[in-house]
Amino acid sequence: MSTVNSPRFNIQAGSELTRNVEPLLHEIRHALQTFLDTGETSIIDLRSIPLAPGEEDSIINTLGQGEVQALLDVLGPSEIYETKYAGVWIVTHYNDDDNIISRFVEITDSPDVLKSQREDVVDALNALVTELGTDKT
């Protein structure tokens, strides 16, 4: 969503703004340690922390881009990717108009929403059966 030509306020994101960037990165480090030690996963809601314009970007930039990326089509698009730190994922949900409606940092080996869901598999089987026109048994 770049607005190159539109006039923008000259608000610079800087560490002097909310001072929430550093603590958040440390929280991620702790969560990663816990995940390694105990296998306990965790989720951080990026929208629950007051961040100045640009600060969310600076977190995202610090975490970087890793090996895995996935695009989901679920009630509007969602984007999931692993950051350059394995085990740290960014999950971004968009609405139909491509606005971010929620954004999470997940510390796990793979975010749940990426996996095929049992309920959907049941539906899928039914659909396939119908498609093939054969009896289930």
């Binding site: 306020f9 989720i43 007051p50 989901l72 679920v74 609405n95 139909d96 606005n99």
Partner: protein, 376 residues
Amino acid sequence: MTKDLNLKNGSLTEISPEKGTLGETLRKQGVSRRSFMKFCATTASMMALPPAMIPSIAKALENARRPSVIWLSFQECTGCTESLTRAHTSTVESLIFDSISLDYHHTLQAAAGHGAELAREVAMEENYGNYLLVVDGSIPLDNPGYSTIAGISNLDMLNEAAKGAAAIIAVGTCATYGGIPHANPNPTGAVSVKDIIKDKPIINVPGCPPIPVVITGVLAHFLTFGSLPELDHIGRPKAFYGQSIHDRCYRRPFYDKGQFAETFDDEGAKKGWCLFKLGCKGPTTYNACATTKWNNGTSFPIESGHPCIGCSEPDFWDGGGFYKALSMPTDNLTQTLKYAAAGAVAAGVTVGVMNRSKKNTSNKIHVKTTLEDLEK
């Protein structure tokens, strides 16, 4: 089915069993489990709940029954409904609306006239004790004829509808605190829902209009927990109204440094400095605009260069002017100052002259004591 609703125990899920659970409704609409997970995650974020609660939210929402909602509009401008229907544009939020059964809303419903009123009566009767009552607009008390629906005064309709309601959500500053109709000199004698209804749980969702997500967030909270969200001292859900605009404003560093825009188009305004001098009411206003933002998260008034007008606070209309800085007196103090000084000079001179003449008289009648006097 007529079981009494105990809000504290989360039994709103008992509402209207014949309407099916939310999980069933969504599956029938072809909403996948993944989509539902996204919906739950977003709802949690929207309600400012910790992500650890997402699984329990999912479970509660899945089993939630669609509650019947009756929406009454009194002295209002339909801006609140406008705001709410804007929330509808996004797929996830619209699920919230699919998960309620909006049985009466005279602006949105297709039915009109007797048919519309019948829908309200039927919904009230069928769901007696269990439906959610949403109200926007204030209620005139001076003369019931000032605002009526189908010949029924606002006051009567509110009283009647409130009787069978499980809880009331007052939407917008008019319903919550009287709003613009209540503004000085309040020609209709407008009051808020809370001024009339005393025996039902009332959630205030003020704002002119309220942020759409806040309205849906409160509904989602009801669906999920079947209880009232935690409220502040004037009945607002703390999750959204817990912090002031000023405390979450990204222009705050400029306020702290004393860098202010003096006009709407000076250098300071262009640099995005603090709008306090232009009348910003952010410091005394509690709302979620600074984090939730408007128009699907695009921006909020301060981000667009306009000071906060304090629309989610009682009597925001009478705060001495939107463009008058918070620390300025609301009335013309200069004139008072002049008149007081002028009057005081007159009074002071009078008192001074009186003191003088007193002094002179005492000087005059003063008799010197002589040696003879003492020897007497």
